[in-house]
């Protein structure tokens, strides 16, 4: 049998249910490997001892009817975990220990999952390379000094380095799909309202959505089934009939209509992305899908819209960090001075930049010109998708306009960093489900992903198309464990 840490979630569950592997053996394997993988810098907080203890307890009284029986799982450090430090990658929350649990993580523990630890991410999920984290860069297991994408960079790196069988991230503008694409893994952003936002450190509330990240499509379907739930504690949680996504998973996508939006052929897009996309179209045809050209005319307005809406919501959400109720406090001459010093010392550069942009676009005299304008354009972007879905069942695009870049390469130019999310942002603005699956490599052998976008609440079709194409693509990460040498 191959090593425990390299198994997929599905294989690991099977082995545990057949008593070939115990939960404790699995936990030990992941902990051992993490100890040898510190150089990746995936973990912000380790929960190893507790994980080993809980896995033993599971083995003493196993319940194999659970969906994640005794499975050790590490999660992005944006999910509040009761009694376990939760930082959101920020200095301002460096000492924050929640007294409650996020609904999404609670759903995982209820099904038998066991917390391995908290994974690094961009500060408050603001970033596309994990370089804005207070806890330092994360290494992409694909090659040294390469970014793992962001903001769920610790999650994508941990997954690709076999430090966790599956993980969860959050996606506000591409933060699950882009890091998945950069690390040769699978990442799914569900429809807005599918997974509860309760207990997730808020960034942009009308866009934030949690989702599974995994080594293959089947694993994402298993984890989605666990984390997706209606939750009264989230006012935008939607009560709809959720599928047993994994049992309904099928490779039969014959006759499904897949749209190819011409506007995603952007200026300056590298040839290899164009080639990958064409290859993807051929794979989809091989799987029996019908390819239809479509138009999403407002695509090029999505990023500018996002960079008004997201910072505006962030500036409101981050107003709570005032040095009074929790987190860092710096000393000041008076109350206002204390606020200003706390926030200046507690927030990193990118977060300050976005809070400033958000405050500006919401400030008196500018609200109509920026925020209201952006909300109107957001409507047009959503209508583009509504119209497209009269003709097609799903949409196929590249996940990112390039492969992973070097650490430091884009960190001084915010706009070029923002362009990373050009293909993922429209999906958040329209609240749709989208998945990134690995589909090939560039000239450096760095992974490239394809994105499948679905209709609202139609995660099943998205998963089925991905599952079918995954078999034809037959992508395998080739990771040499360079960080252990």
């Amino acid at each position: 049998m191959s090593e425990i840490t390299s198994l997929t979630l599905y294989e690991l569950i099977k082995n545990i249910k057949e008593k070939k592997i115990s939960s404790n053996e699995a936990a030990k394997s992941f902990v051992d490997r993490a100890e040898k993988s510190k150089k990746i810098n995936a973990y912000v907080t380790e929960n190893f001892e507790n994980c080993l203890k809980l896995s033993k307890e599971f083995d003493d009284k196993p319940n194999f009817d659970l969906k994640l029986p005794g499975i050790p799982i590490a999660v992005k450090d944006l999910f509040c975990t009761n009694e376990v430090k939760t930082t959101a990658g920020s200095n301002i929350l460096n000492n924050f220990v929640p007294t409650y649990e996020s609904t999404v993580t609670q759903n995982i523990w209820n099904e038998g999952g066991i917390l391995l630890g908290k994974l690094n991410c961009d500060e408050f999920a603001m970033g596309s390379s994990n370089e804005t984290s207070f806890f330092g860069n994360v290494q992409n297991p694909i090659a040294e000094d390469l970014v793992p994408g962001g903001s769920s960079g610790g999650s994508s790196a941990a997954l690709a380095a076999n430090l966790t069988p599956v993980t969860i991230g959050t996606d506000t503008g591409g933060s699950i799909r882009q890091p998945a694409s950069f690390t040769g893994t699978v990442g799914l952003k569900p429809t807005y309202g599918s997974c509860s936002r309760y207990g997730i450190v808020a960034f942009a509330s009308s866009l934030d959505q949690a989702g599974p990240m995994s080594k293959d499509v089947k694993d994402s379907s298993i984890l989605l089934e666990v984390i997706s739930s209606f939750d009264k504690k989230d006012s935008t949680s939607i009560d709809f009939k959720r599928n047993n996504y994994s049992s309904k998973l099928t490779r039969n996508i014959k006759g499904l209509k897949i749209g190819i939006p011409k506007e995603y052929r952007v200026d300056g897009m590298p040839d290899e992305i164009e080639k990958l996309w064409k290859k993807g179209i051929e794979y989809a045809k091989d799987c029996g899908a019908k390819i239809i050209d479509i138009s999403l005319p407002h695509t090029s307005y999505a990023l500018p819209t996002y960079y008004i809406v997201a910072p505006a919501e962030a500036s409101s959400n981050l107003a709570r960090y005032d040095g009074v109720k929790y987190g860092l406090r710096s000393s000041g001459k008076n109350l206002i001075d204390m606020y200003e010093k706390t926030r200046s010392e507690g927030f990193g550069e990118e977060v300050k930049r976005r809070v400033m942009i958000g405050t500006y676009v919401l400030s008196s005299g500018y609200y109509d010109a920026y925020y209201l304008k952006a909300q109107k354009v957001r409507q047009l972007i959503k209508q583009d998708f509504d119209q497209a879905y009269n003709k097609v069942d799903a949409i196929l695009t590249p996940s990112t306009p390039s492969s992973a870049f070097k650490i430091g390469e884009k960190s001084n130019d915010p706009v070029s960093m923002y362009l990373n999310d050009i293909f993922t942002v429209p999906v958040n603005l329209a609240g749709l489900p989208g998945i990134s699956i690995p589909a090939g490599v560039d000239k450096n052998n760095y992974p490239l992903g394809l994105q499948i976008i679905g209709k609202p609440f139609d995660e099943q079709t998205v998963l089925n198309i991905a599952y079918s194409m995954e078999e034809k693509i037959n992508y395998k990460n080739n990771i040499a464990d360079w960080w252990m040498k």
Partner: protein, 95 residues
Amino acid sequence: MTIDLKTVKHISKLARISLDEKKAEKLATDMNSIFEFIEKLNELNTDNVEPLTSIAETTLRFRDDKITSENIREKILKNSPEKNDDFFVVPKVVE
């Protein structure tokens, strides 16, 4: 349009983030390049478009007016950087 240093300092006051001169200058540069990129939206006529405020097309739910969490004062105060038994403590605000 350009965002000058004075505006940046005003915004930093509104956002309650103290900035030194050097940081304010850097932010002015960054914000100008970001807003140059955002200005693209002005190409579009949106006079007759309804703003999209929420993607979840639901009306907000009502809940029963019942207390669901009691005696959590300790939990709420637990992470406070400065507190006494019952309250958050802040620098003095009244003379």
